[in-house]
């Protein structure tokens, strides 16, 4: 059997994916299932945000919660304290994430931090923001910010879980388009060159510093949109929810497990993590078990499947092809 990925086949796969995502709430109608689907889509979106920096450009971050939390706080403060229209606040949250991404990127890359050092400094930035959110008056410290519930399109709040689900689906689709753009554009090609060999990219005339800063601006804006979405869904944010290291790690895990630097990797990763989470919950309700499995998979993926679960398909395909010949 011919298993080559032709454009036609890819088109069919994408259409099937769209149909599956759109049809899911009609098949699984319980609130629990729809909430679960929404979490997978949000995870795929946030994983893609991490993937933009960690996958496509090879800039591993341990602190993407810095952007997520800033977006969440920005929209929460604008809506609840200043009465700004939630749609506008949503857009401004993206800007806030872009700004923080730009600052973190400009500082770290200007001083030449790479690899593990970049990972550590992002962690420290997230921690600084957490302490600040815990102590300055505008975030109301540890009390957190509540947004009054007033469902309706005007307020970007949804009465039904289906509405939130489709909103997450739209965000996820946009993130996939961004990833597709990165895979095919010159900007994406420059990022890939930086990921593979920074010195060589620089020698070929790529302005490494600016490309990396741009990439972190984009990644930061996307993460912040995820944070603003979170606030609109749960109508509450506090320093712990916003800047938790577990958030950063989850974004990294989703992308790494699915396949960093690929278009559909974060989607596959979020789906896998969602299924594993449900599976381990069926085994035991005690906390922690699902994360143990994620950690194991992370180590195995790094050891055997650097392309992530997505890489599994091409590996199997090659195997099938060599068996057939």
């Amino acid at each position: 059997m011919n298993t080559e990925v032709t454009p036609a086949r890819r088109g069919i796969l994408v259409l099937a994916l769209i149909a599956a995502v759109m049809g899911y709430p009609f098949v699984f109608t319980s609130n629990y299932a729809i909430e679960l689907g929404m979490l997978v889509l949000l995870g795929a979106f946030l994983g893609q945000a991490w993937n933009v920096a960690g996958g496509f450009a090879g800039q591993f971050s341990f602190g993407h919660a810095a952007f997520f939390g800033t977006g969440a706080y920005c929209s929460a403060i604008l809506v609840s304290t200043y009465g700004v229209n939630p749609w506008l606040a949503f857009a401004l949250a993206a800007v806030s994430g872009a700004v923080v991404g730009g600052i973190v990127g400009a500082l770290s890359f200007r001083f030449g931090l790479r690899g593990s050092y970049f990972a550590l400094i992002t962690l420290a930035f997230a921690e600084i923001l957490r302490v600040l959110a815990d102590s300055v008056p505008i975030t109301r410290g540890g009390l957190g910010i509540l947004i009054s519930a007033d469902p309706g399109w005007k307020n970007l709040q949804f009465e039904s879980s289906t509405g939130v689900y489709y909103f997450a689906a739209v965000l996820c689709a946009i993130s996939l388009l961004i990833a597709y753009w990165l895979k095919t554009s010159r900007f994406g090609a420059r990022l890939a060159a930086i990921r593979e060999n920074e010195a060589a990219a620089s020698a070929l005339g790529v302005n490494v510093f600016w490309q990396k800063v741009h990439c972190l601006v984009l990644s930061g804006a996307m993460s912040a949109v995820g944070g603003a979405f979170y606030v609109q869904k749960y109508l509450f944010i506090d320093p712990y929810l916003a800047y938790n290291i577990n958030r950063s790690v989850e974004m990294l895990l989703i992308s790494m497990i699915g396949g960093a630097g690929t278009i559909f990797g974060p989607f596959v990763g979020a789906l896998a993590i969602g299924l594993i989470g449900e599976g381990t919950r069926a085994l035991s309700t005690a906390p922690g078990l699902s994360l143990v499995v994620y950690g194991l998979i992370l180590i195995l993926i790094i050891g055997f499947l650097p392309q992530g679960l997505i890489g599994l398909t091409s590996k199997l395909r090659r195997k099938g092809a060599s068996n057939a010949s």
Partner: protein, 288 residues
């Protein structure tokens, strides 16, 4: 005012000693293997649970558990390196970082699964003793940790600079290929160094348990502090870890005293960012 400042400094030195102990293992691992051990905090947490259960189930004082925790730490570290880190990383820096992150996630959540998220403390006789000198109050367990940190730091430095194994470790740290050429088994030295780093952590865990609580997430509180200490002192330098840890302890205590308990926490991540940006080689250049 002066009394306030001096007692903040003294208290800072005492808690800084714990940071020194945690950072010693981290700096040893970095100095030899040139890797960032992200599992450091969660392995510390495991050691603290060992000290806790030795006390609560068998009634063994943490000071007695200490040598056993060191031994157990060494064996665990050696096996982790041989079985997981060395095997799966293919020698790439980012891979090792992610693998140690994976290990941290596994260890932390296994502890959460088995021990639940309760925070636990031990109250041993003499645990609340304080020495009073005029207006100055010093906690006895913390003073013991302080002295132990100095002794351990000196002992480790001596061992690495004098013993044959220490020479081999330094050779591998300086020039991996050269060491291999003269017949040193580099992979074994890596595993031993990782084991020694975790053994230091065993000591730190037992001393810490006398004055601190343990919970599955307790490692988080120390990961950033330990990295800050190591980066401040200079990656791979024992003296740096000692001075760095004490400075961090004092900075945290003084900023806590002046900025308040919440905002005072900003000192450590802020120092970390500033050092990484402006002086990434640290105060003392990695000496081994």
């Amino acid at each position: 005012m002066w009394e306030f400042l001096v007692s903040a400094v003294i208290n800072g030195l005492m808690s800084g000693a714990i940071y020194v102990l945690v950072a010693l293992g981290l700096t040893l691992i970095y100095g030899v293997l040139h890797i960032i051990n992200f599992a450091h905090g969660s392995l510390l947490m495991l050691g603290m649970y060992a000290a806790f259960f030795a006390w609560s189930m068998l009634g063994i004082s943490p000071y007695v558990t200490l040598p056993f925790a060191c031994l157990g730490g060494f064996v665990l570290g050696y096996l982790l390196y041989r079985g997981v880190i060395g095997r799966f990383s293919a020698g790439k820096d980012e891979n090792i970082l992610l693998i140690t992150l994976g290990l941290a996630i596994i260890i932390e959540n296994l502890s959460l699964f088995f021990f639940a998220s309760d925070t636990r403390t031990i109250s041993m006789p003499g645990g609340d003793d304080i020495i009073i000198i005029g207006w100055l109050m010093i906690s006895v367990p913390k003073l013991i940790s302080f002295v132990a940190a100095l002794v351990l730091c000196a002992g480790l430095s001596l061992y690495i600079s004098r013993s044959d194994l220490g020479k081999a470790i330094r050779a591998v740290a300086k020039e991996r290929q050269g060491a291999r050429v003269v017949g040193i088994n580099v992979e074994r030295i890596y595993a031993i160094s990782y084991g020694l780093g975790i053994a230091c952590l065993g000591a730190a865990a037992c001393l810490l348990m006398t004055s601190f609580y343990v919970s599955p997430a307790v490692g988080h509180a120390f990961v950033l502090v330990a990295f800050t200490t190591v980066v401040l002192g200079g990656m791979g330098s024992f003296v740096g870890a000692l001075v760095g840890g004490l400075i961090i302890g004092v900075a945290e205590s003084v900023s806590g005293a002046f900025l308040g308990e919440q905002l005072g926490q900003i000192a450590i991540p802020l120092i970390f960012v500033l050092i990484l940006l402006f002086r990434p080689t640290g105060l003392f250049r990695g000496s081994q």
